[in-house]
């Protein structure tokens, strides 16, 4: 794991197995602690990185992508989490919001990952270049603890 020790930039590369999620979460919390982020910002980072990485593992990696490349750092006052993969082009900003359930019988059981990312981050940027999906999630670091 790329230990941070308070460094403002950190990177981590993980493979396509779901068990790698534990490494992602530990890395996010290590970095957040080193940067003295409010606990709530660290939790939001943990939740969103888990959803984005899970999505890539279950979709892009099933199409042959081997690795997921993560970077954490600052963009002005915002924390930026960059996630890259080599799966087929996929812009999560284009995914429509799912309908909210009206009863337990018609409740949607899947597809909540991207709505969670939208709700618990403060901005989403996407580009596709050099055969890679590049997604940047922004988090306001001034959120209350």
């Amino acid at each position: 794991m790329a230990a941070t020790g308070g460094e403002p930039q950190a990177s981590l590369t993980v493979g396509s197995e779901l068990r790698e999620l534990a490494r992602v979460s530990a890395w996010v919390h290590d970095w957040a602690e080193g940067q003295r982020l409010p606990p709530r910002v660290a939790l939001n980072l943990d939740l969103c990185s888990t959803e984005v990485v899970t999505n890539i593992m279950t979709h892009a990696c099933s199409q042959g992508a081997q690795n997921i490349f993560l970077r954490l750092g600052w963009q002005g006052q915002d924390v930026a989490l960059e996630v890259e993969d080599e799966g087929s082009e996929f812009d999560p900003r284009q995914v429509p919001e799912p309908a909210r359930a009206t009863s337990i019988d018609d409740a949607r059981i899947g597809g909540w990952g991207i709505p969670i990312v939208r709700r618990f981050s403060d901005g989403l940027r996407y580009s596709h270049h050099d055969g890679r999906n590049c997604l940047t999630l922004l988090f306001r670091a001034s959120a209350p603890p």
Partner: protein
């Protein structure tokens, strides 16, 4: 993740989940929760107080099992979600289709009252 279950004095089944409901912990807990709630009619309260993290896979687990219980004529309610977990439930509208209570005692009282009026 871990799961503990006990039958309370009023007949309500209390199921306590412990840990992170992500794709690592979520699958195993889905199997264990289904084994408890999918095959018999229950008044069940799932205590979420020790669930530190609820990812989308956890929404799936809760909805699938609440639906299975509903189809058997029972109820599966949720109790004591931590703030982030409560926000995830609210975002997906789960709190409008699965009853969520601030604590296990309140959930038990509501379930018993509901059973009495049925």
């Amino acid at each position: 993740m871990d799961l503990r279950s006990e039958q309370l004095a009023d007949g309500v089944e209390k199921i306590s989940l412990v840990g992170r409901m992500d794709s690592i912990g979520g699958h195993d807990i889905n199997v264990r929760l289904s084994a408890l709630v999918a095959n018999r009619k229950l008044l069940a309260v799932v205590d979420l107080s020790e669930v530190s993290f609820l990812a989308s896979i956890g929404i799936r687990t809760l909805v699938v099992n609440a639906r299975a219980q509903s189809m058997r004529g029972g109820v599966m309610a949720l109790a004591s979600p931590q703030p982030l977990v409560a926000e995830v439930l609210k975002m997906a509208g789960i709190d409008t289709i699965i009853p969520v209570y601030p604590d296990v005692d309140t959930a038990c009282s509501a379930l018993m009252a509901g059973a009495g009026s049925r």
